[in-house]
């Protein structure tokens, strides 16, 4: 059934009339996503692509359309405010695509979301796509995915597409492809995503795309070892990254000897999770350990 979102989940887009918001909303609609409303202050009463009603604020959009989830394409200065607004209006799922959100803003949001039981994905992430549900919340290219039994979690964007593309071309479709983002403070983290996939009956195998920095992969390895029994393979980016240098993502930095690709590989392999040397090796590695692969 995939995670986080079903075909019938009613979705709204904050910042639907912006340059990026408009472009990706159209792409989401084209994919078949159930977008019921858009929000842009001052544009209430208009429509997007002649069909999606636009509202001045999320509360109005939720009241009128029953939207349950929001995808945010609002510039960094307003992104945290947009998450607050979505949560305040009752959305239980918020996907924040925006790159460059101040970290303290995310810290301040977290208890608000916890108080209300709201799941946040992102910020600074590609969002996710559920091919079997025709639901795309974010910017993942719809043309490289296919329905199937593989779940995919990643901390990055285009590297994910690379692997998803390879899976699809090898006939391994996906339940959900999820990019959680590379910022230091994010909503749904690696572990929480893992638990969601664990709870999803249709996900029969898992691919994890990690990168240097933090210890999310090590924690995931522990969890998988103790709790899960579906095949899992991994790839870790950043083997050649020098310590102390931030590799684009605010979170991708090796500090004090921790968070190296070698650490992560060791932890994963100790948990019985093969780690691919190259992105292209993910598919054969998965087929090798997954006897029932389609």
């Amino acid at each position: 059934m995939a995670i986080f979102c079903r075909a019938e989940t009613k979705i709204l887009v904050q910042g639907i009339t912006g340059r990026d918001g408009g472009f990706h909303s159209k792409s989401m609609l084209d994919y078949g996503t159930n977008i019921v409303a858009g929000v842009t202050p001052g544009r209430g009463g208009q429509t997007f692509e002649s069909k999606v009603p636009i509202f001045d604020n999320v509360a109005d959009a939720v009241a009128e359309t029953g939207a349950e989830a929001s995808v945010i394409f609002v510039p960094p200065a307003g992104a945290a405010g947009a998450v607050f607004e979505a949560a305040a209006a009752g959305c239980k799922l918020v996907v924040c695509i925006t790159e460059g959100v101040p970290t303290i803003d995310m810290v301040k949001i977290m208890p608000y979301l916890e108080e209300r039981g709201v799941r946040l994905v992102g910020p600074n992430c590609p969002g996710f796509i559920n091919p079997g549900q025709k639901a795309k919340l974010g910017i993942m290219p719809g043309n490289i995915v296919a329905p199937g039994p593989v779940g995919l979690i990643s901390r990055s964007g285009t590297l994910t597409y690379e692997v998803v593309d390879a899976l699809t071309k090898a006939g391994l479709g996906q339940t959900t492809c999820l990019g959680i983002g590379g910022d230091p403070v994010i909503g749904t983290n690696f572990m929480e995503a893992l638990m969601a996939f664990h709870a999803d009956k249709e996900t029969k195998a898992l691919v994890m795309i990690g990168e240097i920095g933090g210890d999310a992969e090590e924690r995931a390895a522990d969890y998988i070892k103790s709790n899960m029994n579906i095949p899992v393979v991994s790839f870790i980016a950043g083997r050649t990254a020098p310590p102390g240098k931030r590799m684009g993502h605010a979170g991708a930095i090796v500090t004090g000897g921790t968070g190296t690709a070698a650490d992560k590989k060791a932890a994963l392999e100790a948990a019985g999770i093969p780690v691919a040397d190259r992105p292209v090796d993910v598919v054969p590695l998965l087929k090798e350990i997954w006897k029932e692969a389609p």
Binding site: F23, H24, S27, P76, A77, G100, V101, P102, T103, I104, D105, M106, V107, M110, P111, I139, P141, N143, I144, S154, S156, G157, T158, L159, T160, Y161, E162, D165, G182, P184, V185, I186, N189, I209, E211, I212, G214, D215, A216, F235, A237, G238, R239, T240, A241, P242, K245, R246, M247, G248, H249, A250, G251, A252, G256, A261, D277, R278, P279, V280
Partner: protein, 377 residues
Amino acid sequence: MNIHEYQAKEIFRAAGLNVPPGRVAATVSEAEALAEEYGLPVMVKCQVLTGGRGKAGGVKFCDSMDDVRTHAGNILGMDIKGHTVHKVLVTPAETIAEEFYVGMLVDRNSRRVLLMCSAEGGVEIEQVAKDNPDAILKYPIDPRYGLMDHEAMTIAMKMTTDVKKARQLAYGMQRLYVAFTHADASLAEINPYIFTDEGVGKAIDAKMNLDDNALFRHSDFEALRDLDEEDASERAAREADLSFVKLDGNVGCLVNGAGLAMATMDLVAYYGGMPANFLDIGGSSNPDKVVNALDIILRDPNVEVILFNIFGGITRCDDVAKGIIAATERMDIKVPIVVRLTGTNEAEARELLAETDLVPAATMDEAVQKALASVGK
């Protein structure tokens, strides 16, 4: 963005921390004048954006004006881990009865600002973390309420049983939290927070890293940026809004997306080559951005081949191809360029590239192998 000790101290002072006076000198005579003003003894401390300044001889106690002249003279111009010292901080030397470590950072696991506190102050905290992790107390702060009085006091009382000192230390932690959040810091450290012989608490060293994502709301912080400390190509990258890190190899990499950029570097190494850089060009197909990126990479005389690895995704590959072609036409590039473009409108892109000198590749692996082949690997 990292800032100097003296700049962090300004921010700490404004937030209400007890920081001894101090100003920077760029010459020996300026340092002498400051020492006269504060009165001996003073400390002369190099202002460079790297750790281990003391070990490198960049921090000196001066008991006489002769000391000030000698040490300021030695330290100014000194090279510390590749950083040239342009400024020294002159500040009164304090008597130190006790030393503590107080630090804060944004913790990805708790998703909160984490207070770190240790009675083993004045030494490298990374070393303490390794040798005796229990000596560092860690406490996540609830952003809704800030660091509450009793939280700070309870932690401080674990550091010292002297209640007067604990009160100062607790207040120091609370002011550090205010400084941290108001400045949008990603790291703030006082190491050491000392008590003088008279029992007065002071922050005598300061370190602060600012969140680049939040600089837009601190227009005054731009003035804190030390252009002397920044590599010219890294500065150009920052100004062009590109994420760039210089490395030691000869394969210049232009990739869209940080994860894919790292994976590309790793793949270069996998096939026996060495990447010249990390560069995330983002999602744009704007020729200007491509020009800027190429310009930055080609400043490095070691670069012998350029490797584009673009996964089009939402961006259309033909758009990106046009951007690359336009950029290469506007520049005079002497090294081979390998281009891997995949995703939406990939075929059209390949057609466009066919009419150029650019070397096309269908996959990451093929692209890396072709790039390495062109430099004889």
